[in-house]
Symmetry: C2
Subunit: 885 residues, 2 copies
């Protein structure tokens, strides 16, 4: 039997892979092959497939035939370079890199210069005539191999270098002479033996196997698992291993290395954008250890190379029809591409690139739409610093990821993760970040680093996460031990507030006012194209004329949920509301409600006016009455104060009465208590007042010539009889008002479906109800039996331990809650085929949930005004994703 192909060669002479083979070769491997195919210079090499990784992790051994295939590829490299792998005289040296289907910074780093040993380092010195280069390469190899393959702390090697420098009275690595480097390699090997109990492996093949194994194993290291969790990458994919002939950016001043983007990843501007370092190896740029030069400088420095690079970047972008993130190395005046991949970008940039590429004819509108991640837009709609405020900027770094953030200073990722559990907002301040910090970056509001450029780890990851980031802010020094950040002689303590602006790079001490952003022209284009594609309507949840106006501005096509209780909390209303609750009988309750009527009416007039005739769904009073009364503890405190001030017994008795009412209204499980339509049924006069206010407001505007069709929504229905009782109580009120105003109004009475029983008996409810709106917050609570207020004791643990994939209050649980929604839709439409159905929980603004809603046949979703653009785009994605299938 012939063994399966586990190794795919690429290079000048022969290339077996291509870009469409990402699943098998990993993204890096497939793109290296593709570049070779289209004539772009890459160091030759080969990719071990992701399948091998999976097999190895399952069986803890290589599949049969793998080593033979590797050998054959190495022989090709040996032939091409006229070098021999493991040869003491003329050694072929290799780089080993991991490369999964999707780029994963959490995984194993690179091992360079593999194949060196005590003998071949001498051979390399002889061949290159550069002994210093040879030993510098050897000590780098030892360090990297020890770090990423053997798991020995990088710092231990650094310490030895620092000692050596101190001994020699020098400060820079480049000042280390050949003897020093030779001595260091000996020390490094001893350090390795001390840690592993075995000498450093001199055999090149052994080095290679150990490195391959380390790449495979890194797929399951903690960082990688964490990264996969955050980015929803399946654990079954595995990673590929890319092994290439070494090229050197550190062979002198005609060598160098860099990274670049075909367009600006922060703004989207169409310009070649990147950084490079002369006489450096690749990782130096990305790790942010030395601050690199802008790519434009290369034009002057090495004009020929720059010209080649320019050609290549154009070729790559046209070939891939998307913005590319590339890595290159210049070895003694010859350019090699080490990597190309789809560049990560900010939301602003994604939108600008997508719209401009449509203008350029590179892609069509639908492709442009799919290039913008709805989740990402959210970041754009996040707060920014109020432009009208004059700022006291203490320092400015690189504007590495746009958006502003305010938070308390923390100096470690762990602290950021700790604080967020208590709801404390933080800014993570680090000298530089590393993959270990990902969890903390995710937890913090924003990231501030002292070192590193626009493509440093901090910058790339923050942009991906949509977190504001200011990078390379050299004016800052950090004293971790004291917990103090110093900037221009000002000392700020851990826990103090700081504000960063990732769009400008500004750093401000203290809390700065943030404002909500608007929609840019590019975004407007994208959203308009989204509107052309999508079929799902988008409404907003808005309770005030102000919110309603914001909703319209963001493109909402109506209000899906207007929560009338929010109007009850107004300072001018709460006394009447409390009077209503304290009322001894129906007559007194009605008298209090009469006071609220004109205010409610004005609320509705304002909202109707703002919505200009678009549909408005008004939910009648939902929360339990005790929410409107002061807390028990406040009241007993008031009594103590009254007594201390010798208040009259009457005054004290008055407060006592409120306490009695608070006690009589107290419930063991208020979420499942006397609220929603249960209130409307037991105190019909409340809903009667609200319906009168709604109908009066609508009539008034209709007399002005507007066409208002209010949708009255009855909450918390579990049985169709509840709906009927309330509806039959309300219709006469509506009729009376219309008669009084002499207006014939179209109005609709529908219900929230937010209890499992309502979904299960939707066929019966739909006989009476003209519309449904799924209240997925409460539906999630009851379907899971989770109280949103209390789930904090176990839900975070559930998410950490993967017991639940997502927080079901953030991302709709399609399997359980979604199943009930499907049942509700199907049953509801079985008795009323033209039933209008929406969704108005938190999930209405969450892209995955919106797509689900589209696919199961909702008419609309309703979300917070600021998430309306996200919803518009997600709804378009839903259509396009179905077309792709």
């Amino acid at each position: 039997m012939v063994d399966k192909q586990f190794v795919y060669h690429f290079g000048n002479n022969e290339t077996e892979g291509k870009s469409s083979m990402k699943n098998l070769l990993g993204s890096k491997g497939a793109n290296l092959a593709e570049m070779a195919n289209i004539g772009i210079p890459v160091p030759s090499g080969f990719t071990i497939t992701t399948e091998v990784c999976v097999l190895y992790l399952e069986n803890n051994q290589y599949p049969s035939g793998l080593m033979e295939q590797i050998d054959r590829s190495i022989q090709k490299l040996e032939k091409e370079d006229s070098k021999i792998f493991g040869d003491p005289e003329n050694p072929l040296l290799l780089s080993v890199r991991s490369g999964a289907r999707i780029s994963m910074p959490g995984m194993m780093d690179t091992v360079l210069n593999l194949g060196l040993n005590d003998e071949s380092v001498a051979g390399l010195a002889t061949r290159t005539g550069n002994e210093r280069f040879a030993y510098d390469s050897y000590r780098r190899f030892l360090t990297m191999f020890a770090d990423v393959v053997l798991g020995i702390e990088y710092n231990e090697f650094e310490s030895l270098i620092d000692e050596k420098k101190k001994e020699l009275g020098i400060t820079l690595d480049t000042e280390l002479d050949i003897d020093a480097l030779k001595d260091l390699t000996e020390k490094f090997k001893k350090l390795i033996e001390k840690h592993t109990g075995e000498p450093f492996p001199q055999d090149a093949r052994k080095q290679l196997q150990m490195s391959i194994n380390a790449v495979f194993s890194s797929w399951n290291n903690q960082r990688a698992i964490k990264y996969r969790k955050i980015n929803k990458i399946p654990g079954e994919w595995g990673t590929g291993v890319n092994i290439q002939s070494m090229v050197y950016g550190n062979m002198g001043n005609n060598s160098g290395t860099g990274v670049a983007f075909t367009r600006d990843p922060a703004t989207g501007e169409k310009r070649f954008f990147g950084e490079y370092l002369i006489n450096a190896q690749g990782e130096d740029v990305v790790a942010g250890i030395r601050t690199p030069k802008p790519i434009d400088d290369l034009k002057n420095n090495m004009p020929e190379i720059y010209g080649q690079l320019e050609d290549i970047q154009h070729k790559l972008e046209e070939h891939y029809r998307d913005m590319q993130d590339i890595e290159f190395t210049i070895q003694e005046g010859k350019l090699y591409m080490l990597q190309t991949r789809t560049g990560k970008r900010t939301a602003i940039s994604a939108i600008r690139i997508a719209t401009e590429m449509v203008e350029e004819g590179l892609i069509d509108k639908k492709t442009a739409l799919m290039r913008v991640d709805p989740d990402q837009i959210d970041k754009l709609l996040h707060p920014m610093i109020d432009p009208d405020i004059s700022l006291d900027v203490v320092a400015t770094g690189l504007p590495a990821s746009p958006g502003a953030a305010v938070g308390k200073i923390v100096f470690t990722a762990e602290d950021a993760e700790e604080k967020v559990k208590d709801g404390i907002k933080t800014i993570l301040v680090r000298t530089e970040t590393s993959p270990e910090d990902i969890g903390g970056m995710n937890a913090a509001e924003g990231v501030l680093t002292v070192r590193g450029g626009m493509t440093s780890h901090a910058a790339v990851v923050a942009r991906g996460m949509g977190k504001p980031c200011v990078a390379g802010c050299g004016d800052i020094t950090i004293d971790m031990n004291q917990g103090i950040l110093t900037v221009k002689d000002i000392k700020i303590k851990e826990g103090d507030f700081i504000t960063i602006d990732g769009s400008t790079g500004n750093v401000i001490i203290g809390k700065v006012e943030l404002v909500e952003p608007g929609v840019t022209d590019d975004m407007d284009d994208i959203l308009k194209w989204a509107d052309e594609v999508r079929t799902l309507k988008i409404r907003a949840n808005a309770d005030t004329p102000h919110d309603a106006t914001a909703a319209r501005d963001f493109g909402a096509e109506g209000i899906g949920l207007c929560r009338t209780e929010h109007m009850f909390f107004g300072e001018d209303r709460i006394p009447a509301v409390r009077e209503m609750i304290m009322a001894k009988d129906t007559a007194a309750r009605k008298a209090a409600l009469d006071k609220l009527l004109p205010m409610q009416r004005e609320d509705f007039i304002g909202i109707f006016r703002a919505m200009e005739g678009h549909p408005v769904t008004i939910r009648l009073l939902d929360p339990p009455l005790h929410e409107f009364l002061p807390k028990h503890m406040e009241l007993t405190k008031t009594i103590r104060e009254l007594k201390a001030n010798n208040a009259s017994q009457d005054d004290i008795d008055e407060v006592r009465k409120v306490i009695d009412r608070v006690e009589s209204l107290s419930e063991i499980n208020p979420m499942l208590g006397h609220r929603g339509c249960r209130l409307g049924i037991t105190y019909p006069e409340i809903y009667e007042m609200q319906v009168r206010a709604i109908i009066e407001a609508a009539c008034e505007l209709n007399l002005e010539g507007m066409n208002i069709e209010p949708e009255i929504m009855i909450p918390l229905v579990s049985h169709t009889n509840e709906f009927e009782v309330v509806k039959n109580d309300l219709i006469p009120v509506a009729k009376t008002v219309m008669k009084e105003k002499n207006v014939e109004l179209e109005y609709h009475v529908g219900t929230m479906i937010e209890l499992p029983r309502a979904a299960l008996t939707a066929d019966q409810i739909a006989i009476e109800a003209e519309f449904f709106s799924f209240g997925t917050n409460d539906l999630t609570q009851t379907t899971f039996g989770f109280s949103r207020d209390d789930a904090g004791t176990f839900l975070p643990y559930y998410n950490e331990e993967d017991i639940l994939e997502n927080d079901p209050f953030a991302v709709l649980d399609q399997e359980g809650v979604g199943q009930l929604i499907k049942i509700g839709i199907e049953k509801g439409r079985s008795t009323r085929p033209d039933l209008k159905i929406g969704l108005c929980g938190e999930h209405g603004g969450e892209p995955r949930s919106i797509k689900f809603g589209h696919n199961i046949g909702l008419d609309y979703v309703s979300c917070s005004p600021f998430r309306v653009p996200i919803a518009r785009l997600a709804a378009a994605h839903a259509v396009l994703e179905n077309e792709e299938k």
Copy 2:
């Protein structure tokens, strides 16, 4: 077009109906026709169908042709009796009675002597030669007509009679002479005119039409609606009207009237049992106004009539093959049967009659089973007075409805209904009861009346309801105004405790200890026959060896729910439980749990032993931890006390720590909080201890030779991952214990399905879970979004207003919750066809819910031990009802 038949004649010459036509003719009408068919003497007459009632109530007019059909029937009666309806000289007089498909005491009473007026009363006097009889009949007719047709208070007529008696210095009605009666008829007519504004209708046909209309309208009076609600009778049925030639039990000492049962309705003994009054009209017996004589006396008094009656009762019982409740009238030595119907009976009686009729060959076992209502058995299993207690019996009345009851004295039905809302148990004490009292009788624990016999309203209704009742307790006097009951010079106030024993007629002042009853031999027969028929297994919910033994005695086939938290509350355990909750870390928690382990193990050993190898399902800890700590208020009180007693600061701090823990554990909605498997996941050591205790106990008994297969049940699962995490944690514990004990044990791990999401994803859960048990209490809470603890603010109103037909916590909501259960069963068995499925909520002992459970394919239901017999019978009914279909 020929009109539909609206009127069905019956009598000596021609009978159009039969007993199977109850739906059309009502029960009374169908049985009158049947008696005529089999040659039993009934006064001739006719029945207006229930369809006419429905049409009349819909259209407020008679259907076309009705009056012609009535006229034709009246002509037949005129011909038979040689009298003319409405004739002044020789009037045909009629009785008018309502009669629905099912006997309904809440409806219109009888109108007798209809057809009399100012002229015909004279004719009647002449024809009968009995002027006093004629005017006595006339004044009775006026009173009844005014009361039931015109709605004038009966008391107003009574007052006029009382005045007249005072005026004449007499005390008994029978002492009223002709002049007095004549004068009273005049006064009665004036009273009627005063109330209605119109003279009393002299026209016989008008009297008849008004009476028919009154019967129809009475179908929708408040009493009837309330009765239908309690007895679940559809409002659409309507009532029939029975119109018959009058026969008179009040024509002197050779006349009389009585009611009787073919067997003793209280004990079931096979003996002719009844009561009669000489020279009285029918309603006198039932209303309990005069205390009647036992039927045995009739043997001496009128031996020939008694002989006929004996023959008829045998004939009726053999014909109907069930115990009959009959009414008869003797008119001047001639016997007429006025009614026969299936007799109401106590549970004891139902069981004895059913078993004896099987012995007698009258019915088969299956019929016998269907003759015993599972709901009724419940009463038998209710407490009775501890036979070992010596009682201070202050009075003895008639043992009208068996069983003992203890409660606070109330004197009105309204009070009984009020008190029960606050959970206060009452005994309703009345001079006599009337249909208006039904609600109060239902609400009270038992009923005590001063007047009335074994067939009085109080006795019949109480037996139907299964309420203990002592009737006709003449030693008692009631002063309603003072709220005082006097018995033998002892005064007892409203609100004082009293105990009644409806099995002996005893009345005892104060609270008497009640004991649980056992299963009689007859019941044992019925239950054994039920066991032969049923396929659904019956288990019990039991948490202690004592309850487990009781469960076995009642025939439970296993324990379906053993709640381990009940064991945590024991006085010897609660300190260790609290130590466990207060533990700072896992080690301290484990140390506390180690103290609980031996106690838990002994609990399980006791329960396993009691169940003798029958399956035992043990639910792991379910409630939130704060339930085991003292209440916040108690603790602050303790601190105040400690301070007052100058306790040490350490002692105070200790309590403060508990307060802190109580606060940290407090939840807004504990029902949806940190409990069930959520506890087991976050504190795995708790479940580990419990599983160790279970497996150790089972191993120990298996070593003794018993075969114990414990079923370990994980509560509150919403997602299969929760189940898996807990299960994977527990299996190693079980394995370790089995290894330690060197026992190979069969044990099963399953789950409660008590959250909607669990039912909806049962297919996934069943891959891991070996059994399901539907926890319908919590499932009802989450499906409806009702908190059982808080629903008291609206649920009673929902039931009153028919928004919900039943309390869903008592009777399973088949439509909503039941739908989820069906989904859960179907999905669960789709991935594990042999999945064992039970139900262990309160509903497991409720007959309708049990039948539902049988029909949807449950393997078993589990209920409280005392409801096991009910469940066994209900499960048999489920099979038999399906066979009938």
